[in-house]
C-alpha cells in the first residue's frame, strides 16, 4: 500500500483531533483500552422530607409550605381541610411569638450575635450591634388517638389501718371524633409541648390528656432589619428555618376502644394515709412493690403513641 505524504499526515491529524480534552465538568482518563469520559453535572441538592419553604405573601404575611412531602404511616398528612402535603398548600403564618425568651440556648446565641437583644446570657461584646427584632412560629405534626383519664376511688375506708382503693382507666374517643385518625400538619406561635405525667399525677387523676400526639417539624424565625420601624414582620425581614424532622415517620397509638373495658386494679393500701403516702414513701418496700405493679398497669393502659423513623 502506498501512502502519499498528505494522506498519511491527514490520518495523523485526524487522530490527534479525536483526542478528548476534559472540560470544566468532565474528566478524561486514559487507559490501555482507550479514553474514559466522565461527566460531573451540577448535583441537585438533596432535600429531606418535611423540608419547609417560606415566602412573603403580598397580603401582608409570611406563608409556608411543606416543600418535600413527608409521609406518616405511608400517607400524606392533611394540611388545610382535605388538602395534603402532596398538594403544595401554602399555610399563612399569622400567629407569631416574639423575642428570644424560651428559645434554646443555641438559638439565643445565633440571633443574639446578629443583634437581637433581651437575651440575658449573651456575651457583652455584641452589645454594640444595631438592635434587631425576632419573631417566630412552629410547625408540627399531630395525630389524634384515644384520650384517657385515670381515676382513683377509695372503695372501703372504714378500716383504721388501711384502705381498699380502685385504680381505673377510662377511654374517650372525643379527640378522634373531632380530628379524625389522619395525621395533620399544624402551625402556631409555639409548639404545644407535652409534659409526660408522673406516676403520682396519673394515679391521682391530676393529668388531663388531650388525646393527641405531636412531633415538631420545624421552627421558623423572622429577623428584622437593623433598627426596624415596625415590630410586625414584613418582606424586609429575613427568614431562618430550623428543622427538627428529616425523615418520614410512623406513628402507632391506640385508635380503637378496647374490646373489653379495662378492669380496675383493686389493692389494699397498708398505710392509713392511703395512696398519696404510698407514692411519696417509696422507700418502703411494700409501697415500692405496689407502685411498681401499678406503674406497669398504668404504662400498659396509657394510649400515648410512639413516633419512629419510617
Amino acid at each position: 500500500m502506498i501512502f502519499t505524504q498528505r494522506n498519511w499526515n491527514d490520518w495523523v491529524a485526524r487522530l490527534d483531533a479525536a483526542r478528548l480534552q476534559p472540560g470544566c465538568t468532565s474528566r478524561v482518563e486514559r487507559v490501555p483500552q482507550g479514553q474514559v469520559l466522565s461527566l460531573h453535572p451540577p448535583v441537585r441538592r438533596w432535600r429531606h422530607p418535611w423540608a419547609v419553604d417560606v415566602r412573603w405573601n403580598e397580603g401582608g404575611f409570611f406563608e409556608a409550605r411543606i416543600a418535600v412531602a413527608g409521609l406518616v404511616n405511608g400517607l400524606p398528612p392533611l394540611v388545610e381541610g382535605e388538602a395534603t402535603t402532596l398538594d403544595d398548600v401554602w399555610m399563612p403564618l399569622r400567629s407569631l411569638r416574639g423575642g428570644l425568651d424560651g428559645e434554646p440556648a443555641h438559638v439565643k446565641v445565633f440571633f443574639g450575635t446578629r443583634g437581637v437583644k433581651a437575651a440575658a446570657d449573651l456575651p457583652s461584646s455584641i452589645s454594640d450591634l444595631p438592635s434587631r427584632l425576632l419573631a417566630a412560629c412552629d410547625v408540627w405534626l399531630a395525630r389524634a388517638r384515644l384520650s384517657y383519664k385515670a381515676s382513683v376511688t377509695a372503695v372501703d375506708a372504714s378500716g383504721t389501718s388501711g384502705q381498699i382503693v380502685d385504680y381505673a382507666v377510662t377511654y374517650d374517643t372525643a379527640a378522634l371524633e373531632a380530628r379524625g385518625a389522619s395525621a395533620r400538619v399544624s402551625r402556631g406561635a409555639s409548639f404545644p409541648e407535652k409534659q409526660r405525667p408522673t406516676l403520682a399525677e396519673r394515679l391521682m387523676g391530676l393529668y388531663q390528656d388531650d388525646g393527641e400526639d405531636r412531633l415538631r417539624v420545624c421552627s421558623i424565625y423572622f429577623l428584622s432589619p437593623p433598627e426596624p420601624k415596625n415590630a410586625v414582620p414584613d418582606a424586609a425581614w429575613q427568614v431562618f428555618t430550623r428543622h427538627d424532622l428529616f425523615w418520614n415517620v410512623r406513628h402507632g397509638a391506640r385508635v380503637e376502644m378496647p374490646k373489653q373495658p379495662p378492669k380496675p386494679i383493686r389493692f389494699f393500701s397498708g398505710l392509713a394515709a392511703g395512696l398519696g403516702d404510698m407514692i411519696i414513701n417509696q422507700n418502703l418496700a411494700l409501697s415500692n412493690d405496689l407502685a411498681q405493679r401499678i406503674g406497669a398497669a398504668v404504662a400498659n393502659d396509657a394510649p400515648e403513641g410512639q413516633w419512629s423513623i419510617a
Binding site: 483526542r19 469520559l37 461527566l39 448535583v43 441537585r44 404511616n73 405511608g74 400524606p76 418520614n248 419510617a310
Partner: protein
C-alpha cells in the same frame, strides 16, 4: 514520536504501529454519568439525567408503567421482584454474583391496584415460613409488590393471609393520582433505610402483627 512525514520520507513499520496505537487510544468508553453511542459519523455523548446527591435504599423511580427500586434489605436479605419472567433478586445479580443479562427486574405497575382514594403503594411483602420466621427470598419470603391496601396505619402491619401464607407489608413508596383519574400518578418516597422485621403471632383478641423498624 512525531508521526508526520516529509515528502519522500519512508513510512516505516514503527510509524504504522504508532498510528495503530493512537487509533486504539481514541476508543471512547463511557464513564460516570455518560452514555456513548457509536454512529457512522462519530460518537454521540449523552450526559445522564441529573440526579440527587444522595442515593438511598429503596429509591423508587417511575419508568413508564414500571418502577425501578434500588436494592434494600430486610433482616439483611434482599427482596426479589417478579417482572413477568419469574422472581429474581431486585439488584439483577444471581446468588453467585453474576449479572443477569436481562438487567435489573422492574416492577410492572397496574392501574387496578389503586384504592378508592387514589393511593397505591410499592411495598416489600414479607411471607412467613411454617416456622413463623420470614421465609427465604427465593421461596417468596421477601418480594416487592404493588398494593392498594394499607395494613400498617397504626404502627405494626396487620398480618394478612394471602394464598394460604401469612404476609406483612411495609410501604416503600406511595403512588397517588387524583381521585377519578386514570394513570399511575406521582410517586413519593417513603422508606430510605434497611429494615428489620419481626412477627408477633395473634393472641388475646389481638391480630398477628408484623413489626418493621429501622
Amino acid at each position: 514520536m512525531n508521526l508526520n512525514v516529509s515528502a519522500g520520507e519512508v513510512v516505516r513499520a514503527a510509524h504504522v504501529r504508532e498510528l495503530a496505537r493512537l487509533a486504539r487510544e481514541r476508543t471512547y468508553l463511557p464513564g460516570h454519568n455518560v452514555r456513548l453511542r457509536q454512529t457512522l459519523k462519530g460518537v454521540v455523548v449523552e450526559a445522564m439525567e441529573q440526579r440527587t446527591a444522595w442515593h438511598h435504599m429503596w429509591e423508587a423511580d417511575l419508568q413508564g408503567d414500571r418502577v425501578a427500586v434500588s436494592p434494600g434489605l430486610v433482616n439483611g436479605r434482599m427482596p426479589w421482584v417478579d417482572d413477568g419472567g419469574g422472581l429474581r433478586p431486585m439488584d439483577g445479580f444471581d446468588a453467585k454474583g453474576k449479572e443477569d443479562k436481562r438487567g435489573r427486574p422492574l416492577l410492572r405497575l397496574r392501574e387496578a391496584d389503586f384504592n378508592a382514594e387514589g393511593f397505591s403503594w410499592i411495598v416489600v411483602r414479607v411471607r412467613l415460613a411454617a416456622s413463623g420466621a420470614m421465609a427465604l427470598p427465593e421461596d417468596g419470603g421477601l418480594e416487592l409488590v404493588q398494593s392498594p391496601r394499607a395494613t400498617w396505619l397504626n404502627g405494626g402491619s396487620t398480618d394478612v393471609v394471602i394464598e394460604g401464607r401469612h404476609c406483612g407489608d411495609y410501604p416503600l413508596a406511595l403512588l397517588r393520582r387524583p381521585q377519578g383519574e386514570k394513570g399511575l400518578g406521582t410517586l413519593t418516597q417513603c422508606a430510605m433505610f434497611p429494615l428489620n422485621h419481626r412477627f408477633v403471632a395473634a393472641g388475646e383478641g389481638r391480630p398477628g402483627t408484623h413489626f418493621f423498624w429501622v
